[in-house]
Amino acid sequence: MANLSASAPGLQSATKGFIESDNTEQPTEGRAPLVLNMHKFGEVTHQVCRVAENRPPLAWYIAFAICLSMLGFLGFCVTYLIFTGVGVWGLNNPVMWAYDITNFVFWVGIGHAGTLISAILFLFRQKWRTGINRFAEAMTIFAVVCAGLFPGIHVGRVWFAYWLFPIPNSMDMWPQFRSPLLWDVFAVGTYFTVSLVFWYVGMIPDLATLRDRAKGRFQQFAYGLAAIGWRGSMRHWHRYEVAYLLLAALATPLVLSVHSVVSFDFAVSQVPGWHTTIFPPYFVAGAIFSGFAMVVSLAVPARQLFGLKDLITMRHLDNMNKIILLTGCMVGYAYSMEFFIAWYSGAMYEKFAFVNRAFGQYWWAYWIMVSCNVITPQLFWFKRVRTSIPLMFILSIFVNVGMWFERFVIIVTSLANDYLPSSWDQFVPTWVDIGTMVGAFGLFGVLFLLFCRYLPMIAIAEVKAIMPEANPHPHDHGVPTGAVGALHEPQSGGSST
């Protein structure tokens, strides 16, 4: 696109002063480059490692200070809650789930992009995922940490939160195995464990790189400990590749299972607006939608701040915006099916629940949800929008807002106006509700900023493997693809999008 640099000012590479090359147009023959302006592996190593080796920019300190104070406020809110009781939230009867579970579902959803990128896109041979997988996986783990907080504190008596787990105890009490709330504990627990292992295993070669480059004794020791003796021998690499493939295959069902189980929390019940069979795939699509939006929201400032534009290129952002568009359409499909079937079913409660969502006391929340999740993402049909940094940033924030409201709409509107009009009520959040929600973003931000500061933000070894230099083809250098000599290229083909 010719007007790329015009539409998005300040796109000059932070390190080299190059104008950002346009790699968004996929040629019909061959493939667009995924790493720009670099010709040696060492340049990639340097580009990524220097983030962890040098002092971060001033913006990092400012962001960290803000997030840390939000985290402090979270600590205050949670402490106040524990000492006082869940009454400090705006919950009432019948709205017994509100911000707490909304935030839980929101954060679990955010986590999905990481697993999708690292596992499913890996199996789909999407090579562009290497530029973004590391910090998307990190984001997954931090998001699940934030998610895990909420069920823990909403049980009321936090000191009994361990009852969530099926631990044999002296009272011979077990959790209800037929309850999806317990399945949630297993699903989210498994998800967290596998994501963590996947993230860590993928990071080992890069940790070893940081160790080898480290100047200080402490850094050498810390990175060395984390690199668990990686020497980069052929045998190490062989085992690493096999382990990575197997972990990808094991993580793939988790992309579907976690949010499906979260959706079961609602869908197995008979609450109108909750009991609908499309919930599992609909929640999964929504989770990927919100997860990718969060990746875009984080990638845009991160690549700017740390000078990673040659590794997280416009093509990566363009692809992510396409996935946001796709999953946004899926979410729109699910909304339409719910509405259509609510009418088609002839069930009066079901019908009421959906009309009430759109025109009842929380109509504004519903229309925020529809606008942000279905309408504004349609702008991503235009390439000019998909490749405009300011627009994609704004739209990705919109999606995050919309997906938060989606969970709020599902949970609160259905509970507030259930079968019995005499028990209807309205949920109004208190300052503790809002403080806990905001504080969770602080927790997420602190973890993410620490990750950016101290760990390799980009999978150095994987990015190198997709550079043309990793694919030597001595016989036909410069001969266009389509010639006979192309036979000699190993590992070609496959990659699409």
């Binding site: 996929q26 019909t28 023959e29 069902p253 579907l256 499906s260 079961f264 869908a267 197995v268 019940s269 008979q270 009991h275 609908t276 069979t277 499309i278 919930f279 599992p280 795939p281 359409c329 499909y333 699910a334 099916m337 719910e338 079937i341 009418w343 088609y344 079913s345 002839g346 069930a347 049909w381 693809t481 389509g482 010639a483 006979v484 192309a486 036979l487 290229e489 190993p490 590992q491 070609s492 083909g493 496959g494 990659s495 699409s496 999008t497």
Partner: protein, 451 residues
């Protein structure tokens, strides 16, 4: 190292151009189809059960429809993702999808015939003369609301409430819209792709990529509402928001398996030797495994679990109809044959790569995809289901419910319709190249290797 040992320059016309070999297959398939359909007509006439015959017609019609829709979906995702690997098999998929431009005959002709006919097929007490569109009640009970209400008043009330959607004229208009879109879109993609065979113009690839996005949206909507109209409304009081997705999973199971089968057979005729390789078969196998087996099981489980757990009578009746009498065995057979056994079979690498094992696998999947449609279309919700106080009492009364799988008409119609589809696809292939031979990504597809 099993990448194709062929490059674009090496492709011979004999390996690529459709010729008499395909014509022979096409004629043989058409002949078999005609014989089977004539036999079916005789058997149906002797059985004298118009309702049963219509249901078998519908079920087999939907089955061959899913095979074509699956190929259409495959073509669309190849374009929209800029995929390189699949170019070698795309022409076979395009020809398979192109059946959609005549499959409407199997649907719209009987529908309109039932619409205009003044016969009422069910029982006694029908009105004199022509009653508007009631003939469709031979298949879809909502088309004759008075009769439905007389048989089951409660159901009549529910169905009357949705008559703004479930009414005969709108139903027929929708069917025409679905088929118009499918026929136009598949014809366009097939024609544009063949244009590239002659011109090699890369801008055609770009044009198909642009068209694939709106086509996918329309594909999702038409296949969903077709499933609602033709399958879900067979039990007109029942509903499930996920039903369209379940049907889509079935489309993938049948369509991708049929595509793999088509590639195997086209190669068996001597075409595309060294072009479609174990690598492509492995990827096709992965798609069958991922979409047709695992995704199908995920959707089937979610739908069943949520409804059975929720335990609302108006929803569970649909599954009760599928687990009373002999239907229980069909349900179990689907669990085993559509999920567990092929899951284990297709998970291994060699089973997807070796043509012998892959053939066994896709024939198996095609059979169970058919059984899945049978399971969707055929069971009847007992009208007195609400009168039982316990599930056991109901199950005891209906313990002898038969599935009708022993009826030879099923298999004659299956052979007839599949024969027509094979004849249609091979006829088209015989008149063009069986490979998108000048697609700019063909080389990438030829030298593609799984890691």
């Amino acid at each position: 190292m099993s990448a194709a040992l062929t490059t674009v320059a090496d492709l011979s016309d004999r390996s690529v151009l459709g010729d008499a070999r395909l014509v022979r297959v096409s004629r043989a398939a058409a002949l078999i189809a005609v014989v089977a359909l004539v036999l079916a007509a005789i058997v149906a006439w002797r059985q004298g059960d118009p309702h049963g015959f219509a249901m078998i017609w519908l079920q087999n019609g939907i089955y061959v429809l899913t095979l074509a829709l699956g190929a259409f979906f495959f073509v669309l995702i190849q374009h929209i993702t800029n995929a390189g690997w699949g170019v070698a098999v795309r022409r076979v998929a395009e020809a398979q999808a192109a059946n959609l431009n005549w499959l409407w005959i199997l649907f719209l002709v009987p529908m309109f015939w039932l619409f205009v006919t003044d016969r009422q097929f069910h029982g006694s007490g029908h009105a004199e003369g022509y009653t508007f569109g009631h003939g469709l009640a031979l298949i879809w009970p909502w088309a004759d609301l008075a009769h439905l209400s007389a048989e089951s008043p409660a159901e009549g009330v529910i169905v009357a409430a949705k008559s703004a959607y479930l009414n005969v004229p709108f139903f027929l208009i929708r069917a025409c819209v679905y088929f118009a879109f499918w026929a136009i879109a598949t014809t366009w993609f097939f024609r544009t792709s063949r244009m590239q065979d002659h011109s090699g113009d890369p801008s055609l690839s770009r044009r198909m990529r642009f068209a694939a996005a709106p086509a996918l949206i329309l594909f999702a909507l038409t296949s969903t509402f077709a499933a609602f109209d033709w399958i879900m409304s067979l039990s007109p009081a029942w509903f499930s928001t996920m039903f369209g997705i379940y049907f889509f999973a079935g489309i993938c199971a049948g369509g991708f398996s049929a595509l793999a089968m088509g590639c195997l057979r086209v190669q068996g005729l001597g075409y595309l030797r060294g072009v479609i390789t174990a690598e492509h078969y492995q990827d096709l196998g992965k798609m069958i495994w991922a979409f047709g087996i695992v995704f199908w099981a995920y959707i089937a489980f979610s739908q069943y679990m949520l409804i059975w757990y929720g335990n609302l009578p108006e929803e569970t009746v649909w599954f009760i109809a599928r687990q009373i009498g002999d239907w229980a065995w069909v349900s179990v057979a689907l669990l085993l044959g559509h999920f567990i056994i092929p899951f284990l079979f297709f998970v291994s690498r060699w089973a997807k790569r070796w043509r012998g094992t892959l053939t066994i696998g896709v024939v198996w999947m095609l059979a169970f995809a058919w059984l899945d449609i049978y399971w969707l279309v055929m069971p009847v919700v007992p009208h007195d289901v609400a009168t039982y106080t316990t599930y056991d009492a109901l199950a005891a009364v209906y313990a002898t419910t038969s599935t009708g799988l022993g009826n030879p008409l099923n298999y004659l119609m299956l052979v007839g319709f599949v024969g027509l589809s094979v004849a249609g696809a091979t006829h088209r292939l015989s008149r063009c190249a069986v490979l998108c031979r000048r697609d700019p990504r063909l080389n990438e597809s030829l030298r593609f290797e799984n890691i």
